[in-house]
Point group: C2
Chain length 334, copies 2
């Protein structure tokens, strides 16, 4: 005989109060006497009562869930970002569902206002441009929306100052001028992913290089696929062309790894005739001695989750924008 799961009614009976009083306790209403509250809490405890989320959602209340829409290019970046986001959500008894947006057909799926991602209290877009993702630039349902690793004036966003990161890289490489190359990651425009972060890094790099009287020829910007092999290939090409020592700014660590490996194979010494700066601050860079620009990824995630919770509490707030600063980690490669 599987006894039905207890409802608010059962708790009320057991505590000798009325259902709405239990509801008030559940929702932390101020106007409940300590005594009543205690009785109710005891009843909840003893029955193992948990409010039905389905009923709450139906009632128009909170689902205590948020949806995270993100491209899934399978990098350490999103794993760390999610860690940050979930740590904050956990503290507030919220949970998150993920909705990958790797393909255009995927987009179609989420046009409908009834689609699963919108059965949540709020939305988090990671590395995604709302103009590309949503028709008319906003979700089909009026849900609080926060962007992370992406920007749009109409919404809250938390992003890294990628241009500043590019400038840091340029400053390091400027210390010892040499023939300078940038390895840029190719962003595919047939996906909703197209955050422009790699290009921002390049622009910052260019600007700072110019200040330091360095220069970057247009054909010294090599565009590659997002992989270590991509970096390796580009580097082989660069080493064929270049005559003397070389400076390379790889716009992400994964690609920088390929640069380093290929450099070693080509008999180069990182830090002297081949100077390399990466971007992201991934863990392995420490062992590899890669100078890199660290992003506070977990912090971005936490900040984004906090921003969403704030907005959940008050939808009328004006959009808030948070720019996080990258940090140079100096190692032997530059």
């Amino acid at each position: 005989m599987a006894t039905r799961r207890p409802r608010i009614q059962d708790v009320a009976r057991k505590a000798g109060v009325v259902p709405s009083t239990v509801s008030r306790v559940l929702n932390d209403y101020p106007d409940v006497s300590a005594e009543t509250r205690a009785k109710v809490e005891r009843a909840i405890e003893s029955l193992g009562f948990r409010p039905s989320q389905a009923a709450r959602a139906f009632r128009g209340g909170r689902t205590h869930s948020v949806s995270i829409m993100l491209p899934m290019p399978g990098t350490e970046f999103y794993a760390r970002l999610l860690t940050g986001i979930e740590s904050v959500l956990d503290e507030h008894a919220y949970s998150a569902g993920l909705f990958p947006l790797l393909t255009l057909p995927g987009l179609e799926r989420y046009r409908d206002a009834d689609a699963l991602p919108y059965r949540a209290d709020g939305l988090l877009l990671a590395s995604l441009d709302p103009e590309r993702v949503f028709q008319g630039g906003r979700p089909p349902v009026a849900l609080p929306l926060v962007l992370v690793d992406s920007r749009h004036p109409a919404f809250d966003w938390i992003a890294l100052d990628n241009a500043a990161g590019g400038r840091l890289a340029a400053q390091v490489l400027n210390e010892r001028p040499a023939e300078t190359f940038v390895i840029l990651i190719r962003e595919r425009f047939d996906t909703p992913f197209a955050s422009g972060v790699f290009n921002e890094r390049l622009q910052g790099f260019k600007a700072a290089l110019a200040e330091g009287h360095g220069r970057l020829d247009d054909d010294h910007v090599v565009t590659v696929e997002f992989s270590a092999s991509g970096g390796g290939l580009a580097t082989r090409h660069i080493l064929e062309v270049a005559r003397g020592p070389v400076n390379i700014f790889a716009t992400c660590d994964l690609v920088a790894r390929g640069v380093l490996e290929e450099g070693l194979r080509g008999g180069k010494t990182p830090g002297s005739d081949l100077r390399v700066v990466g971007f992201d601050g991934e863990e392995w860079t420490e062992g590899a001695g890669l100078t890199t620009i660290e992003q506070p990824i977990e912090e971005m995630g936490r900040a984004a989750a906090r921003a969403l919770l704030v907005r959940l509490a008050d939808e009328t707030l004006p959009p808030r924008h948070t720019l996080l600063e990258p940090r140079l980690i100096r190692r032997s490669s530059a």
Copy 2:
């Protein structure tokens, strides 16, 4: 004046029937006259009515959603698997939320019967062992459960015959006996991910090698990280040790790519003094000329989604197990 979204009541009024009749139409009840059905459908159309999922869920009905729990090691594999799964779900107006399980803390989050993944009609576990994921080996809520790329006698599963794949690889390499190595992927046991697929491939390979009178020394099995670099490193090591021509079975394509690259660098000719077989059938292998064992990944996804829909319709069915066959794709590398 934002007009409220239409409810079943509004449709009923407009069609000149009663709400329950509309419900019957919505749910494809047989006993509705064609005439009434048409009237109702016209009303639904003209009002743009969509039934409230929240109300349905509350009522105890279907949410028309499923949850997919998966490790997220960020490979092409999951992207393709999801494509397959979603294509079938789409056809049946189902949607899917993703719940990554990369870490142990992540597990904690889903212990609670009220957790978000269980607010769905069914559960799909990809590459995950239910015994590791759930306390007591089953979800905290009695939800239909289907495994994909993983197996357990108590549940429906769809998996690849990995041992057969290993055998295929052995047969190819046996054609020209040589010093033979296997590059095995290290599975991390501190995550819920630990499907054992790589080991199954190795076992099949060993067995078939023996049949062909080949042999595999224990120290010819090299364990590496899941990356192309991992394969490269292993290969460098192998080429140092080996004296003559070499056969290598890499238990996934990503690692095989590293093998190929390192082999070329070491002056080897794939297909003659270095014969390589990969596993997965990734797209790039065609261009690279890699002989590989193809998995019907999308098909696995589709089969899994279909299995879940079947089980949704009838929970009492005995568990059904589907073993899909890998296929050898012959290219120049072996």
